[in-house]
Every structure is written in C-alpha cells, then in structure tokens.
Amino acid sequence: MRNSPGGLPGAFFARDRDQHPPAYAPGYKTSVTRSPTKPLIALDNTLSEMTGPVFGHDRLGPLDDDLILNFAKPGELPVGPRIVVHGRVLDENARPVPGALVEVWQANAGGRYRHRKESYLAPLDPNFGGCGRCITDEEGWYRFRTIQPGAYPWPNGPNDWRPAHIHFSVFGHGFAQRLITQMYFEGDPMIWKCPIVRTIADPAAVERLIAPLDWANTIPMDARAYRFDIVLRGRRSTLFENRLEGN
C-alpha cells in the first residue's frame, strides 16, 4: 500500500479527542466503572501501531453484505422497511481507504437484537440475523442491504431509549485506525435525547453520525437509501525522521 512518496506508510496524525466522547460520561452509567481514571500515555506510532492486517475478499461469503437475505429462510423475507446503507471510507486527508473491513450489527425492525442477553419484549424476526460485513473497493465504497432497525428501550435512566441505529466496526490500514461507532438516521427526534449520543460534546460531531436519506440512490418500488461516510485517521507522509537501521 503506497501512502507516501517512499512507498512507506507514515505515522497517523494524533487523534483529535475533541471529536470523540470522553471515557467517563456519567450520563451513560456503564461508563462510570469502565473508564480509565489515569491519563492515557502518549505514544508516537511505532510499526506496531502503523501496520495492520489485510482482510481478503476470499474470507467473505456472497451474502455477507445482504442482511435482508443472509439469515432468511428460503423463500421468506424479514419484516420491516427495506433500505440500502452505503458510503465511502476516507481518511482525514480525504483519500479513500480501499480494502477496509466494515462490519455492522443491528436490531430488527421491532428494535429486538438476536442475543441471549437481550430481554426487550419485542419479538425476534425468524428471518433476520442482524449482522453483515464487507470490504471497501478501490474508491473506498461499501454497501449493505438491510432492514431499517427499530428504536428500543434500555436500562440506564428511568426511561431511556436508543434511537434507531446501526453499529459499525471499521478496520482500515493500521491498528491505530481502529474505530467502532454507530450510525443514526436523518430526521429521528430521538437522537438528541439519547445518553449514548450525548457522550459526544460537540453537536457538529454528532451530525457526522447521522446518515441523510439518499434520494438519488433510492431503488424504486424496493428500498430507500441512506448515505454514511466514515472518516478514519490520516497519516503523515513520511515514515520516520531517521531511517530504520539495518534496512
């Protein structure tokens, strides 16, 4: 992967932590006992952080990116609004990130997850599993077909609900680029009430997690489309100030 004039990847830009939630965000109660209390130790990237695994297309099956079909019984379909979720994975330099692994998981149309710890009274959908994955193409594009998930209540405050969302796990080119996030849907009034959304201080940062309805890519008589672009950390253009010894 040639990212710099020498063909060598550079270190990633320092993470702008103002774009992210703090570890300790008491409105989200579980973070209280799961947040480190001591400062993170700053570490300039070494090869251990700059490098990362490659995920080959050979590991993926033909329906891995199709949540409408990948768990459905033959001849049956899951219940709920059919949607396409697509977008580009870019880095902070606005360059596409090809070969990124994008994994998603979500509740069904009623807001119910297929998980043994889930106790919400909304029913499982026998034709919906709730997982998908794909690898971005040369221009950084990814695409899933799925069912729009429902909102669901969760134990935090006395009456907290999650807005409809899709969980995203993204693996770019270096271990330091690793990111897990959630995508929300344009126009949902519940987004701004959610304690997990509100762990992010900057409303402009929250806006970047809200996928707009992508009317141009709606499939007539079939599925609406939502567009969600993802930005991973960018790299400096040189590997090290000094050459590696012995190389």
């Binding site: 209390t37 700053a42 300039d44 969980h167």
Partner: protein, 203 residues
C-alpha cells in the same frame, strides 16, 4: 502535516452489549459467516514458539467484563508484521498477526493461541522488547482502549524498551507485563480503573 481543509475523524461510539452479533455471530447462534475474522492466528506451518495468552478485563468494581471485544496485533517470530504497512518485507505467510476474542460469556476470560513475537524496531531503529498490541471495546467504553502486553521472561529487553521507558510512574509498568501461568501460557489481566489500573496509550 495536517492541512486546514482536512476531514475530521468520525466520532467513536460504544460497541454496546451486543458486539458479538457483529463480530462473533456464531456465539449468538447466527450462522451467517463461513469464516469468523481473527479466530485462527496460527497454523501448523507457522514459525515460532507457540504461546497461549489468557486474561480477563475487570471494571472499577473488580467485576469481569463479560461483553468485551478484545483484539490483538503483533509481529511474527522474526519481528516483522504480516499484512499491511511493514516496510521491511514479507512476514511469515503462515501467520496472520491478528486475533480477536469475545471472552467467555460466563467468566469473561479471553484466550489467544499465537506465537511469541520477535523484536520490532522503535522509530530510532533500536529494538523494542517483544510485545503484543491490545485493543479493547465494550459496553461502557466510549472509545476503544489501546494497551500493550510485554513478556515476564524478557527482563533485559523490557528494561531498555523505549515505550515502557515513557511511563514515568515506574510502579505502573507491571500492569503491562504478563504473568507466567504454565510453560508457554501467559496471563494478562486488564484493569480499566482503580487499584492496578492498566496503562493505556494514546497512540
């Protein structure tokens, strides 16, 4: 250098309690994927000393996390990274370098079957001590946590390791050093907060 018109990184959000559906669907009885990513790091052809790493992530009350995602990334036995970005040439093709574990649903214990990594150069070219990079995501963790595991039987290398050397409070260094549990088996427990809080890095 960072340009003024750069894009901003997408904000992190917690993985939530159901990360297994996305990353280990088989654990939830969801038989969709033929291959689960990060499940097998080594094969019979992999070069190097076989090791097992076991550990548990604990919260500030001392309770184990039963819903965490733990990922590791490491060099091969010669200290070269498989995959992408290592300028020093090809690593062992029979080693992935990447492992992923959900931990046991009842105890929270994670297990990795891997090999002991070789030494990787620091940015000045001097070798770092053998280490494995960890990344932890879970419900209640708003942005994934990076740490490193070092080896207890590498005292000399650990003593000159430039990353361990960055840790001013020397009493915290042992939080990054695994404990020997049996021949070839290391225990690396991670404490998110409180007594013995693991050192986490801003990388």
């Amino acid at each position: 250098m960072r340009l003024p018109d750069q894009l901003k990184e997408t904000p992190s959000q917690t993985a939530g309690p159901y990360v297994h559906i996305g990353c280990f669907p088989r654990m939830c009885g969801i038989e969709v994927y033929e291959h689960e990513i990060g499940a097998d790091m080594v094969s019979d052809a992999t070069r190097g000393e076989r090791i097992e790493i076991r550990g548990t992530v604990y919260d500030g009350t001392g309770a184990p996390l039963r819903d965490a995602l733990i990922e590791i990334w490491q060099a091969d036995a010669e200290g070269r990274h498989p995959g992408r970005g290592d300028p020093r040439g090809l690593a062992d093709p029979a080693f992935t370098g990447f492992g992923r574990s959900a931990g046991d649903p009842d105890t929270g214990e994670f297990v990795f079957q891997t090999i002991k990594p070789g030494r990787v150069p620091f940015k000045d070219g001097k070798p770092m001590a053998p280490h494995i990079t960890f990344w932890i995501a879970a419900r209640g963790i708003n942005i994934g946590l990076h740490t490193r595991m070092y080896f207890p039987d590498e005292e000399a290398a650990n003593a000159e390791d430039p990353v361990l050397g960055r840790i001013e409070l020397k009493s915290r260094i042992p939080t990054l050093i695994a404990r020997p549990e049996a021949p070839g088996v290391y225990r690396f427990d991670i404490r998110l907060q409180g007594e013995g809080e693991t050192v986490f890095f801003d990388i």
